[in-house]
Subunit: 362 residues, 2 copies
């Protein structure tokens, strides 16, 4: 097991990465202010992993309630969130009852937001069960639900007490979901670590084959980078925005097609190709760079071509993005491979060329 420490101005918490951690109550217990917990999970994950966790907690004398939500991004809504509140209140759960998110990014984001709001803030713990959640969503305290007019529009910055990433849980993850997680892994290489990008180019097949050492290294490297960035800029007033590489385009794809049609990671993958294409238009990347991006994303089993939303739709959905400032769209682009920057200087022309796919080489 490796343990990283995410340091914020007035808090810090551990991120444990390893194998067979699910029932390691020794990692959980120090973070429960009272011996009372509520596990939030979904109907796919519950039959796989709920019983061992619940039993381990109960064996330690921790009063444990369970909330099983329906599975899917389309349920990342207030109505589903309310199922958590209903269960907590019906069970007389107190402000110090710890919410434990056992699931992927959808469960983690909703459980974190529920914890942020329940009695104005209950403790919470992340046990991410997808690659995407282990490398990205479980770390850093962004929580949210969707609104029909925009993804993750309603939420909070609210940090977990501990993150426990058990690699073994990835064994049951469908291939398509594993690939979606690899999109965020590739994102880290592209935005800030050319060496890691090169390592990914050499190890992408091992990762898809779930080679334990390769997976553990990738999760560790991503969490290190995320912890460092979030430690510098918890509320995304600066550098944290770089983590949104591919996401302005990606969120528009998700909203444009209707949440759930494409996986988040798939939308981000196609979004990163568009970000690379835009960077090429600005003269920052050359054709070979863009080809490297496309090839790695393709080898990860991910789409490299965005769906045709139509320019009006693209602009409409990107206009709702949280990175809009003073009416200007802000894009995360690539100065070079391994170095992202924020730019609000993308002209309408460039955008139109990129979105109509005229310069995408794949």
């Amino acid at each position: 097991m490796i343990t990283l420490d995410l340091k914020l101005p007035d808090a810090h918490y551990p991120i444990h990465i390893g194998r067979n951690l699910l029932t390691r109550t020794d990692l959980l217990k120090p973070h429960l202010p009272i011996p009372s917990a509520a596990i939030v999970t979904n109907s796919t994950i519950a039959p796989l992993y709920l019983a061992p966790l619940e039993q381990a907690l109960k064996a330690e004398g921790i009063a444990t309630r369970v909330v099983v939500l329906p599975d899917g991004e389309s349920y990342k809504t207030w109505d589903t969130l309310n199922l958590i509140f209903d269960a907590l209140l019906a069970g007389n759960c107190e402000r110090k009852t710890t919410l434990i998110a056992l699931g992927g990014g959808v469960i983690g984001d909703m459980t974190g937001f529920a914890a942020a709001c329940y009695q104005r803030g209950a403790p919470f713990i992340q046990i991410p069960t997808t690659l995407l959640a282990q490398v990205d969503s479980s770390v850093g305290g962004k929580t949210a639900i969707n609104h029909p007019l925009g993804k993750n529009m309603i939420g909070a910055f609210y940090q977990p007490r501990v993150v426990i990433a058990d690699m073994v849980l990835l064994d049951t993850l469908p291939d398509r979901e594993l690939s979606a997680g690899l999109a965020e892994v590739i994102k880290y290489g592209l935005l800030g670590d050319a060496e890691f990008l090169a390592w990914l180019e050499s190890n992408i097949e091992q990762l898809r084959a779930r080679d334990p050492a390769a997976l553990e290294y990738a999760v560790k490297r991503c969490c290190e980078m995320k912890a460092e960035i979030v430690g510098q800029d918890e509320k995304e007033s600066g550098v944290r925005a770089l983590l949104n590489l591919g996401h302005t385009f990606g969120h528009a794809i998700e909203a444009g097609l209707g949440y759930g049609a494409w996986l988040h990671g798939e939308a981000v993958a196609a979004g990163m190709v568009l970000a690379a294409a835009t960077s090429q238009e600005l003269g920052w990347l050359n054709a070979a760079d863009v080809e490297r991006v496309i090839s790695l994303i393709q080898r990860a089993g991910l789409p490299v071509r965005a769906p045709d939303l139509g320019l009006t739709n693209w602009l409409e959905h990107m206009g709702h993005d949280k990175k809009v400032e003073q009416g200007k769209l802000r894009f995360v682009l690539l100065k070079q491979l391994g170095q992202a920057v924020i730019s609000s200087e993308v002209s309408h022309d460039v955008l139109q060329r990129v979105l109509s796919g005229q310069n995408v080489t794949a």
Copy 2:
């Protein structure tokens, strides 16, 4: 105009108290990160005060949207909150658009919570229009909505950028609402300032007659006390709980009768009498002390006798209170007039006697 400063560990904000402040855009403008605002108010207040505020902002070149909500505690729900989100998103409002709460505690609590959640945190400003909001709810950053199983159960600690309390707005406040506000004013005297309590006993008629100097003094003294307490304990891990004097009982009354039947301040008034009676049972107050409490509350035009909820209902509703810890009810009681303490040592017997009204002298 008097200006107080609420100092928190890593922020501080001004509380302006005076007359004719509604159109003083000089007090607002320094707190808007971009020239874009959304005024949130209700259908009662809009015809009275919306136009002057909106015009003043527009005259300063501030793009201003308006959201008019239905009026009433029964609308302090997610559905109403969603009307704010719908309007913000339909209007392409950004993360830096400032939400301005123009209203009483219901509007203030909902607007604050909407700001806390919108794009994970938009700036917000409080312009309280009721006495209760001016002395209590607009200051200190508690925001919330109700859940059918408990009042203010879903919310956030989220501070405004500035609070602007314009006494003139109180001129149109119905008498019953003014009295409800006086309940919270009396609360401050009882919990922490025997001298202020004595001042209230001498000035309660002037306050009910809306004597400008008396009102301004009372608002100032309450805000001073609130600012000091919140400055010491923003998240209510200690001393801030004292501000809930009368509220454990009061919230049970509100929930037990259905939100809206009694005003919040009325429920708190009857709740303070019960807290005083409990304190007498514990030997801390004597009969004359309790009589003083009852008499002042009565003179303020407030109920001194709680409705008969039945013991099971009382306990059920108090069990959902945020002050429950490890299954124990925690009460704010009076060691003496002007000094509140927290106690989780109220026996079932004492509670039963107090709730059945056997020892209430009025």
